[in-house]
């Protein structure tokens, strides 16, 4: 009997790396195909937003703080890393709270946090901004490049470019969001969703549950990471997020502008908006020639389809963001094989 092949998308970059490291792909039968999705925040940040961070970091008396992966992502002309080498003050922080501490310790400087991340990260930034307001840190600013995963899942599930039979859903985003928002995705797009942890066994269990749903013709949400994820998620974190940010349209690399898939600061917190504070000239965004990160992020292409992969584009001298980030699909394929 011929078995119908199924395509499962792992949405989270941490899953991409865990799957590559474990060798699970090679153990699965040919009828089960795993593809990577848009869950690496550094990778999905639009070129123009990276250019904006670089331009602001070059302004006088600015300290730019961001997460480690972000600084090596090439902008149109430069990267935060290359301007740091030229003497600009760019710092890597572990937490947004560290960036606020830098601002409090350097009142004569303007400290900008280049924020990227999904629902796991944005509440930590929201709380930091509440703290910044309380401490009247008027030299602290945030570039909000935060993304919401559900509008992207809906865009992919509804896309005609790719057929996805099931989503391996992000475990740590779901610690915050809970499983309820996936229910709409499963129902509206008739696609099974399983929230999965990050151990090899967790991932295998997630795949098993998805195959079970596909075989029985069901499309529901299951939690295979019950030790950390509850259906209701972390309500306090979501309330803090809502108090500081509101959904706004946002551009994703590869996916384009997705309605209400980003976060903008609410009126009460707009004084911290770096985009309002700095008026800078930006170069016309230019995609690196030959780079197919945009297609890789949608699961349409694999890194091995890219003519730059492992040749011009390596972790030592990355051309596209998917090779820069430790969670990028190209970085995972480079390190562990296709």
């Amino acid at each position: 009997m011929k078995v119908k092949a199924v395509t499962l998308m792992e949405v989270c970059g941490t899953h991409t790396m865990a799957i590559a490291r474990s060798g699970i792909k090679k153990l699965l039968p040919d009828s089960v195909r795993l593809i990577s999705g848009p869950g690496c925040p550094v990778c999905v940040t639009a070129q123009k937003d990276i250019d904006l961070a670089i331009a602001i970091a070059k302004e006088k008396d600015v300290i730019m703080a961001t997460f480690g992966d972000m600084i090596r992502v090439p902008g149109t002309k430069e990267s935060l890393y290359s301007i740091k080498a030229q003497g600009k003050d760019v710092r890597v922080v572990y937490s947004c709270l560290d960036a606020l501490q830098i601002a409090l310790a350097n009142p004569e400087k303007k400290v900008v946090f280049m924020g990227v991340g999904f629902e796991t990260t944005s509440p930590t930034v929201a709380l930091t901004l509440i703290e910044a307001k309380r401490r009247r840190a008027d030299n602290f600013f945030v570039l909000s490049n935060f993304k919401l995963i559900f509008p992207a899942l809906a865009a992919l599930a509804g896309s005609r470019k790719i057929e996805i039979d099931g989503f391996i859903c992000p475990g740590h985003v779901s610690v915050i969001t809970g499983s309820i928002p996936y229910e709409k995705i499963a129902k509206n797009y008739k696609v099974p969703c399983v929230i999965t942890g990050f151990d090899d066994n967790d991932i295998l269990q997630g795949i098993k549950l998805l195959i079970g749903q596909i075989n029985s013709g069901e499309q529901k949400v299951e939690i295979a990471y019950k030790r950390a994820v509850k259906r209701s998620g972390n309500t306090k974190a979501r309330n803090i997020l809502k108090a500081v940010f509101r959904p706004a349209d946002s551009e994703w690399r590869g996916l384009g502008i997705i309605k209400k898939s980003g976060l903008a600061l609410r009126k009460e917190f707009r004084c911290f908006d770096a985009e309002r504070e700095f008026k800078v000239n930006l170069p016309k965004p230019r995609k690196p020639k030959g780079c197919i990160c945009g297609e890789v992020l949608q699961g349409i292409s694999s890194p091995v389809d890219c003519r730059l992969f492992k040749k011009a584009c390596t972790p030592q001298s990355p051309i596209g963001p998917c090779m820069v980030s430790s969670e990028g699909t190209c970085a995972a394929y480079y390190k562990y094989g296709a």
Binding site: C12, C96, G117, E131, V175, I176, A228
Partner: protein, 77 residues
Amino acid sequence: MCLAVPAKIKEVKSQSAVVDFGGVSKEISLGILDGVKRGDYVLVHAGFAIGKVGKAEAEDTLKLLYELREVSKQDLR
């Protein structure tokens, strides 16, 4: 980016806690998670506790971190 590591709560302060990552202590924020007490296991992301986690799985990861620390100590010798 959405990496989160389990840690054991050693001491709860008003809005923060000292946690143990398999032998390494660090102060983290409790600002976005309610109901945390000493001895609980939490997932830590970017300096914040984001959710509680079952003891068994947390202990597995922490044991690994502890072993890693011991191995790197040996490497330094």
